[in-house]
């Protein structure tokens, strides 16, 4: 997909759906759109109906005060992929689950819950998935600390 | 007759006793020479390193009853055939009788087959 096509697609979907804002330039190759947390589910449903039939990736990035939730949607019919992002405040970390739209979210959201502690409202089975059930904390948060986590000494 | 039977029984008893003794000797050697270091975990049943998830003595629904039934039926019939097996040489009448018997056996199998008794999966 050329950058021009990508830009056209981005324009099309944002024009179609006023809740979406294009977030970043396209220099790294993929279209990125943002949405308010409250509108995530409705937007995602629209996008699915618009042809994005595949939820490729769900993950989060810890940006100190907020978590950035990143969804990668892919469409075979449009032959396109976009990133959908939403911000989740750290002290009130919840977001609507997309399991109803894409069952692919079932495990990926559990993983995000496990490692970041973000709650997915409406997820049918939100438990830890990678870590033991009795694990305390969410290790991929930047402020996670653990005596078991021996920091690598640094030369650089 | 009783003598022959008795001898046979004694032969079998001797056979079993010897084989049992053979293993017994091996077990005795094992009991004498092998180490014994029981621990609690060692005594737990093996289940891929996890706590046992379920009780293994629960019912096993493997359509086993049907198979057992069929087996009993057919094996009993087969055993009956063994009884006459040595008396069939050149005896056409007996042979026809037995053939009929086998036909019934085959028909029974076909019936069971047709009825789905041989389908393992529902």
């Amino acid at each position: 997909m050329t950058p021009d096509e990508m830009a056209a697609l981005l324009e099309r979907i944002t024009a179609h759906n006023p809740r979406l804002h294009p977030l970043f330039s396209l220099e790294f190759g993929d279209a990125v759109v943002g949405v308010e947390r409250a509108e995530l589910f409705a937007t995602a449903a629209d996008l699915r109906d618009a042809g994005f039939d595949r939820l490729g990736m769900v993950t989060a990035v810890d940006r100190d005060e907020v978590f950035v939730l990143v969804y990668r949607l892919h469409s075979r019919s449009l032959s396109a992929a976009i990133f959908l992002k939403t911000l989740v405040p750290r002290d009130d970390a919840w977001v609507a689950s997309l399991v109803e739209l894409w069952p692919a979210a079932l495990w990926q959201e559990r993983e995000v819950f496990d490692l970041f502690g973000i709650h997915f409202e409406g997820h049918p089975d939100l438990r830890r998935i990678l870590l033991p059930d009795d694990f305390v904390g969410h290790p991929l948060r930047k402020d996670y600390d653990d005596p078991r986590l021996i920091r690598r000494p640094d030369y650089i | 007759m009783t003598g022959v039977l008795g001898a046979t029984v004694w032969f079998v008893i001797g056979l079993v006793a010897a084989a049992t003794a053979f293993i017994g000797v091996v077990f005795a050697a094992n009991a004498l020479l092998s180490p014994r270091r029981p621990t609690r975990e060692k005594g737990e049943p093996f289940e891929c390193g996890m706590d046992q998830a379920g009780l293994p003595w629960s019912a096993q629904r493997m359509r086993f009853s049907t198979v057992a039934m069929l087996f009993v039926l057919f094996d009993a019939e087969a055993v009956l055939l063994f009884a006459v097996a040595s008396r069939l040489h050149g005896n056409l009448l007996a042979l026809i009788e037995v053939a009929a018997f086998v036909c019934f056996l085959g028909l029974g199998l076909a019936y069971a087959w047709r009825k789905g008794a041989l389908e393992w999966r529902s």
Partner: protein, 381 residues
């Protein structure tokens, strides 16, 4: 005594009565879980009524570790993600780094990457179908398939000195050029492999028992495959014609002539045979890549070891043996990634297990699990 009363589940049967369930752990140390996966299986007689995969027994926190390693130092970590196909994770990661840092890769390096990754695909598929055949008891087939893999390992060892964790694909190229005579040996291998693949096909996929064991088992519909995010042979066996090499072409794949193998039924058999046929396609790609490759540099010249991309984020993906393997990288402008996430195809494919295994027997469960070809290094990360 580990047996508890709670574990005796009384669930209501469809006919309204109640039946007893038998709960079994399959794994984490089980010969058929391909590593340390664990499936808690609820059996009704011999039929699986519920299969609940439990993963994380190999969760090593690679994503966390990457945050404290420089960009180059992450490459050895990616080796250990999908340890059956180290080259893929190397490549996916390097593509993300290259995208983030704006590094152009020399053409020869791209060809070498394609060659090693297609070889890796054969190796990985040989492992995959071999292990899933061993799940059905065809152990000798596993050994024959592994023998083919071993030949590829030898080629890799000559190329980069390691048998398993290659650390070969690096940001900006590859670590070594092909040694003298290597490409000829690769061609000889692909030639021999085609014959071997025919043998393997007859030995296992033609076998009446294997067909009976795998056909109609774990049928995945195309819609489910898409909705559950399945990719790679798992999705393609269900008729989803989606291969990143073709449909989001990267590297020099657009110059290659190859076919995407697509199955029809989506059962375990199609998944297995898709893999075998893909290997033959890989041979075609390798042959073409070798004939198209020209001498030249294999690494971007003058690339400093300490990469320091400007702040931003990049995602790139490749078609690994298990499907779409993506790496999401966030940079904050320092010498280390701020966040690395691996979109693992094995993880997404394994999530299908409960869907596919339920209603089959315990024996089928291992076949279904094997046909999904999970590698737990990548599932758990």
């Amino acid at each position: 005594m580990a047996v508890s009363v709670e574990s005796r589940n009384l669930v209501s049967a469809p006919d309204g009565g109640s039946r007893e369930e038998l709960v079994v752990n399959v794994g984490p140390s089980h010969p058929s879980t391909h590593g340390v996966g664990r499936v808690i299986v609820h059996l009704d007689g011999d039929i699986v009524v519920k299969a609940e995969p439990v993963i994380g027994y190999l969760h090593r926190g690679i994503e966390k570790m990457a945050e404290n390693r420089t960009y180059l130092q992450v490459v050895p970590l990616t080796d250990r993600l999908d340890y059956v196909g180290s080259m893929y994770a190397n490549w996916a990661y390097c593509r993300a780094v290259e995208r983030l840092a704006g590094i152009a890769v020399p053409e020869r390096a791209e060809y070498l990457r394609v060659i090693v990754c297609e070889l890796q695909r054969i190796a990985s598929h040989m492992m995959g179908i071999g292990a899933s055949a061993a799940d059905t008891g065809a152990f000798t087939f596993f050994i024959y398939a592994f023998d083919q893999r071993e030949r590829i390992i030898e080629l890799f060892e000559r190329l980069c000195g390691a048998r398993l964790t290659y650390n070969y694909v690096r940001p900006g190229g590859v670590s070594f050029d092909a040694p003298q005579g290597w490409t000829q040996d690769v061609l000889a291998f692909t030639k021999a492999f085609r014959a071997a693949a025919a043998d393997l096909d007859r030995l296992f996929f033609g076998n009446v028992i294997a067909r009976g064991r795998m056909k109609g088992i774990g049928v995945l519909s195309a819609d489910d495959a898409v909705a559950w995010g399945a990719s790679g042979p798992t999705a393609r066996a269900s008729g989803v014609n989606w291969d990143l090499r073709k449909h989001d072409p990267y590297s020099v794949y657009p110059r290659m002539d190859f076919d995407v193998v697509v199955g029809e039924r989506g059962d375990a058999y199609d998944r297995g045979r898709c893999r075998l046929l893909e290997c033959v396609e890989s041979c075609r790609i390798i042959d073409q890549a070798i004939s198209q490759m020209h001498p030249g540099p294999v690494r971007t010249e003058g690339l400093p070891r300490l990469l320091q991309p400007r702040p931003g984020e990049a995602y790139d993906h490749i078609e690994s043996a298990r499907g779409s393997l993506g790496v999401y990288l966030v940079s904050d402008g320092s010498v280390r990634p701020y966040r690395m996430h691996v979109r693992s195809p094995a993880f997404c494919n394994l999530a299908l297990l409960p869907l596919l295994a339920e209603g089959h027997t315990l024996s089928d469960l291992v076949v279904v699990l094997g046909s999904l070809d999970p590698v737990f290094g990548e599932v758990d990360r």
